[in-house]
Amino acid sequence: MVAAVIQVQDLSKSFGDNPVLRGVSLDVALAETVVIIGASGSGKTTFLRCLNRLEEPTGGSVRLDGSPVGEASSERLSAAQRSQFGFVFQRFNLFPHLTARDNVAIGLEKVRGMSRAEARALAEEELSRVHLQDHIDKRPAQLSGGQQQRVAIARALAMKPRVMLFDEPTSALDPELVQEVLDVMKDLAEAGMTMVVVTHEMSFARDVADRVIYMEDGVIAEQGPPDQLFGAPKSAGAQRFLRHLSHD
């Protein structure tokens, strides 16, 4: 068996007295696309944020390629470790003062230590991959939501991460802009990127996921291939959640 890229062991997180994650364990294999679904408040976003230590977990461990994440001895090392995870935010979080190109280039320059020219050339390449070659000099405010999210994906990919994490990447988009972002994500999955995606786009989960995880109350309540989880959910929670969705 191929060693898992990410190994999560008994991860927990509480905000004050409020337990949000209550012991989540999960292995993600190389080139696997895992989609996490569940009602809001089920802990799926917190889980994702604990993987790259945007949130400090209360307990448990995360390993990336076998090395523990978050136990680095210096800020520099933990920052370098974090850049192994590409993270795409619900609200894009592009840097509004920088052009699309510089949004992508800044990490290459400041974190990877490339020269400015090198970083900008590579940024252009990454932006072409998400079909934004005609928008490189625009600021985020001059781009549509779908374009902004694609810049954000390019920014994450430029760092050559081992894994891509997507936190509800289409939830803040107008309906007609959702597909362009999903298409980019689908291409990425097909190209063999290891991905963990939190989303409410069930069609994406059905078409692209290798495995779907249903979370409820801070634990994994059920998981399996999409056909199984959508076709014949076993847990009462997943049945209820999916029934609810089809009525929306």
Binding site: N52, L54, E75, R76, A79, A80, R82, S83, F85, G86, F87, F89, R91, N93, L94, F95, P96, H97, I106, G107, K110, V111, R139, P140, A141, A152, R155, A156, M159
Partner: protein, 217 residues
Amino acid sequence: MTIDWGIIGESIPLLAEGLVVTLQVSALSAVLGLALGVVFGLGSLSRSRPLRWLVMAYVDFIRGTPLLIQIFLVFFALPMIGIRFDEFWAGVFALSLNASAFVAEVVRGGVGSIEKGQTEAAKAIGMRHSQILVYILLPQAYRQMVPPLTNELISLVKNSSLLSVISVYELTRAGQAIISVHFVPFEIYTLLAVYYYVLIKALSWLSVQLERRLPTW
């Protein structure tokens, strides 16, 4: 009461000489105070607790003591430990140190008000805390810092009149020199008020122009 118009006519060019010094002192102190203030402001947001405390203590001291005392400390006390300036540079130094504390607070407030998602996005691509401050948060805070920084600049220009007590030949001191010879306090102090007022109006106007020109997102 009669107004001595003649002395006013004579004083206008004499005071202009003092005005030049006021402008020099203010410009130098503003640049130095801004540079130090940005460093201190970022220091107060640093991850290092001792550094944060040091900056906080400094800001607290400057805000908690009169500028006049700070000027005397720089002018009289520093030479006792071997640091010697002439009155002009002592004045610039004192005003800069004073302004830097207030600028630090403006920078801290401005940078601190930038939305949390910006820090998270920068962290996610592996940037370190200090890089996030300098390359991501500070540039986004420039525009909103202009009005409060203008207020600090205006205070600085007005405060520069205190340097007359250590014989810096700035605008106020130049006026006092005329008064001591001709004894025309009403005419000269009124004229000084007009000089300062016009100068500060001009600065306010420049600040609005600058704010307009800085980009919005």
